[in-house]
Subunit: 577 residues, 2 copies
């Protein structure tokens, strides 16, 4: 059976050659102690942990799922032990400040580790999925007392946080929140129901720290009346005074079944305000860029897992005749990867996984470089584009397995089911598309977009000295021009709905364009072959780049046409008849 | 909660106005006793049965699944009773000859009923999924004695057939079959293992008739050495002499969990040859057009179910602000279908479900008209295009539900999981694509393709007298020209792999083109509004046609570009590193 292999060589290519991360680290006081060799060791160690500890629990965790027993959640067999090993190895503290016991590593390395965790076990990853975001939120907005009490335990991973936003009537629309908080003089009492709370209860840690959005008695209606509270499961110490927050039920879900998705009931639970009254969304959104980038890495992780699973199966399975590769004799039956339809899927998986790795890590490095503005432009793209493609590509990989792919045994159908959630949570992909086009492009007057186009143009200028890259950079240059021409009509239209109709295609276009940028630079670096990855690696890089430009980037032109088509209104019909 | 509503009005539009089926029936001796009114009643009755009996068992059947108890399969609660009701109502006999107790109804009505069954309960539908194909196969190829003994019970639905093709090493590649058959003078003894046998055992009927592919001792290797056998579960009568065929295990699957997918072991089981020795594939393929068309209808059924589910939810759920429809006041929160991103999904579901209904039923009518050649061209397109789109559209519909869509409660995640299998079985969609391009187009020298293009052209000629249709028919005419130009280079290329690289995009192009044909004719009929469907129906038809031509047909141009891109070779890489 397949066993996950961390794509260390490609990760190193991205970090060292594409991003030149180590020279950035050396110039930046916070990361000066980090060098490329240490980074390699960290990734290697993380890859081993994910492959040896997390991946073996993936299928069993899915079959077993979580149980609610007398109000307490039991996670699948092996999950609590795996979490303990994760804590013992120090992984939760990776990108946290040394002030709180963290290792102060850059987010780009966190992104690589996140990719590996989710490639191996999405459900397990969910338990610590918002840990770093909660750390950011508390360390920026909570009182010194709350920080002292909770941050060390959260950074070490002894305790885990949750993010309690959603209520039955309030999904994407947080303005509809009803959960209440009333002061009792010393603290607040929270009352209400929350749903879809990942890890709302679990048996991995002996305390759980809920971050809860609720309304104070004098709160304005809508999103301006929402405050953020810290509500621990155990008040003084684990096993001591139980706080009045309870898990009512678990969701039966399509996937990530090893992750406990809880309905929580707050019955006058004690909590403390984080940040200012009514400014809870601001505090909550402080973790959004990081959290959405983490979801993007989930997408990448699933693509990598799909790629590896499909490739392993295609190598061992033989069916029917196919034209043999150059220099090989006819075989009947032939290996699956000789069949063009299958080889195309495998190349697509490869081109997307490697292209997404470049752009995902780059976005994380922009956060390390505190270029929040450009990271803010890229974040909705990578969140939505990566997760959208990861679901499609899992389905494409499943097809390589034929009927076996539909059975639990080969794992790929679980990848497909698990990957689907990432298009929904942390802001649905439709919300990402609107955020990108309306807020990050149009409201910004295209400033960050122009910065991006200029970066791509600089890369194009470098590419012009390599005739092998002619067709690639010319296509990318056309897309740059098209992007510039697309924005103005969307900016100026009197039709308020038009940008909303165009948003999804615009985001897909941006995703394809960004990967085109990633692949152009990767191809140039591979041509120069100055790194230590070896000739076969660079040769495959070039072949995969060629596939990207020949077979995948043409979709960008289709997306341009669809953004143009958004000039046509969408009918209002009576939907059921 | 949602309850399925058979789309009777649209079915009637397709049958009466688009296909003019009743005038064909009146001209054709076999169907002369059928009129439009009777057809309406049949569809109405079938719709009621599917909605009231099958749909309520869909979610529970998925959660419960099938069990293997002491070698016998137990289907989910309610399935045996539902089957009995199905038999009592005479549905199994619909399109079978009166000679065997059938009702001799046209395949086009069978297609409509198939759509409804799979919209409501795919897993249940699987048990009788190949019944009509088995009937065709036995009535064409089996001996009179076998026909007398088995056909009446199969036609009535008292007994159910299975189709035993796949073995662990032989999926798409039937040439690798190893199952053996040896004569004992009077009959044959079958030995070997079969996998993925739907309904290989079940508790719906008191006998099961397996159609089994196996090799005789003197069989040539490959597909020319395969014979077909009839192997009943009970030899003389149910409860009498048990034949040596046993269910070893059930697959744990992504979806259609209420359908028993069995591994069968033949341990010297008694069987009888159907047709000539070594000519088993020919007999088996005699049911392929009908079986693949049936799978296409599964795709349509899922699109219709997805459409209805998403529309029902979008009408009742409110979230966030959105531009109000003309004449309505602002609402905060607004109904989901006010949001352009959601309305676009709903329109897409509608345009595909109605477009597929036209083309799916038309293909069935071509079989009624015994135009096997044109039906043969369309069959791989509708099988692969409908099932591919039904999976994508189920995912699109799921997105309308947000987080709720990921839970079992709302049913849409089950539609997504169930729909996925149809891209794999009855010939994977890659096999359909190769069948279409290599066999049905290139090997045919484009003859049937030219017939199709001529039909489309005739419709275009009619459309030219309606200025409202200008943009539509012009686009379709461009596609006709492009199709003619695409085929020649694929025909003449010395690169043996090229058509294999182009096949999938060519099939998608054909699917979009066919739906374009369907929508152009539907739009013209709606403009003329001569039917009895009422002004709102025709107005919505026109609005949906407009959406198809503005927002969906542009994908066809992208597919043309991808067929052209197939001139670029696909690299052979080492896939795992």
């Amino acid at each position: 059976m397949w066993r996950y292999q961390a794509p260390l060589k490609d990760m190193q290519f991205v970090l060292k050659e594409w991003l030149q991360a180590d020279s950035f680290w050396q110039q930046h006081s916070q990361y000066q102690q980090l060098d490329a060799e240490t980074a390699d060791q960290i990734l290697e160690e993380a890859g081993r942990f994910c492959s040896e500890v997390l991946e073996p629990l993936n299928g069993s965790g899915d079959l077993e799922g979580c149980r609610l027993e007398q109000g307490e959640v039991k996670t699948p067999a092996g999950f609590p032990q795996a979490w303990q090993a994760f804590v013992d190895a120090g992984w939760p503290a990776m990108a946290c400040s040394e002030d709180w016991g963290g290792q102060q590593l850059p987010q780009v390395l966190q992104a690589a580790v996140t990719e590996m965790i989710y490639a191996c076990n999405h459900a397990f990853g969910m338990y610590s999925g918002i840990a770093h975001g909660a750390y950011e939120c508390i360390s920026r907005f909570a009182s010194a007392e709350l920080q002292d009490r909770y941050l060390p335990k959260l950074v070490s991973g002894e305790w885990l946080p949750t993010m309690c936003l959603t209520e039955p009537q309030a999904g994407s629309d947080l303005g509809q929140l009803r959960c209440k908080a009333e002061s009792d003089g010393k603290a607040h009492r929270l009352t209400g129901s929350k749903i879809f709370i990942s890890g709302g209860d679990q048996d991995l840690t002996d305390n759980i720290i809920h971050l809860v959005l609720a309304r104070l008695p004098d709160a304005p209606v809508g999103t301006r009346g929402i405050s953020l509270f810290l509500v621990p499961k155990w008040l003084d110490h684990p096993g001591g005074q139980r706080n009045a927050v309870y898990c009512d039920s678990l969701e039966k879900k399509m996937g990530i079944r090893g992750s406990a998705t809880c309905s929580l009931s707050f019955q006058g639970a004690t909590g403390w305000l984080i940040g200012e009254p009514h400014a809870g969304l601001q505090a909550m959104f402080s973790m959004m860029n990081a959290a959405r980038l983490s979801v993007a890495q989930q997408g990448l992780g699933h693509v990598e897992a799909s790629r590896q699973r499909a490739a392993a199966y295609a190598l061992e399975r033989t069916q029917m005749r196919a034209p043999p590769p150059p220099g090989e004799l006819l075989r009947d039956p032939a290996p699956l990867h000789w069949h063009p339809a299958m080889r195309r899927r495998l190349l697509e998986l490869r081109a997307f996984s490697e292209g997404m790795r470049v752009i995902g890590y780059w976005t994380a490095q922009l956060l390390d470089q505190q270029d929040e503005a450009l990271a803010g432009l890229l974040t909705p793209v990578v969140k939505a584009f990566f997760t959208d493609r990861s679901f499609r590509l899992a389905s494409s990989a499943l097809q390589v397995f034929g009927g076996y792919g539909y059975t639990h045994e080969y794992g790929i159908e679980q990848t497909l089911r698990d990957s689907r959630i990432a298009m929904i949570y942390e802001g649905t992909n439709e919300i990402q598309a609107n955020d990108l086009l309306l807020r990050k492009v149009l409201a910004d007057q295209g400033q960050q977009l122009q910065r991006l186009l200029a970066l791509v143009d600089a890369e194009i200028q470098q590419a012009t000295s390599h005739s092998e890259l002619d067709a690639y950079w010319r296509h990318l240059q056309q897309l740059t021009q098209a992007l510039q021409q697309l924005v103005e009509p969307l900016q100026k239209t009197p039709d308020a709905e038009r940008p909303l109709r165009a948003a999804d295609d615009f985001l897909q276009l941006m995703g394809l364009y960004l990967l085109g940028y990633g692949w152009l630079r990767s191809a140039r670096l591979a041509l120069q072959a100055k790194g230590s990855a070896g000739p076969v690696f660079y040769q495959h890089k070039l072949a995969t780049a060629d596939f990207y430009f020949r077979y995948l980037l043409p979709e960008a032109d289709y997306r341009i046409r669809m953004v143009e088509a958004s000039c046509y209104p969408l009918a209002h019909l009576s939907w059921i008849e």
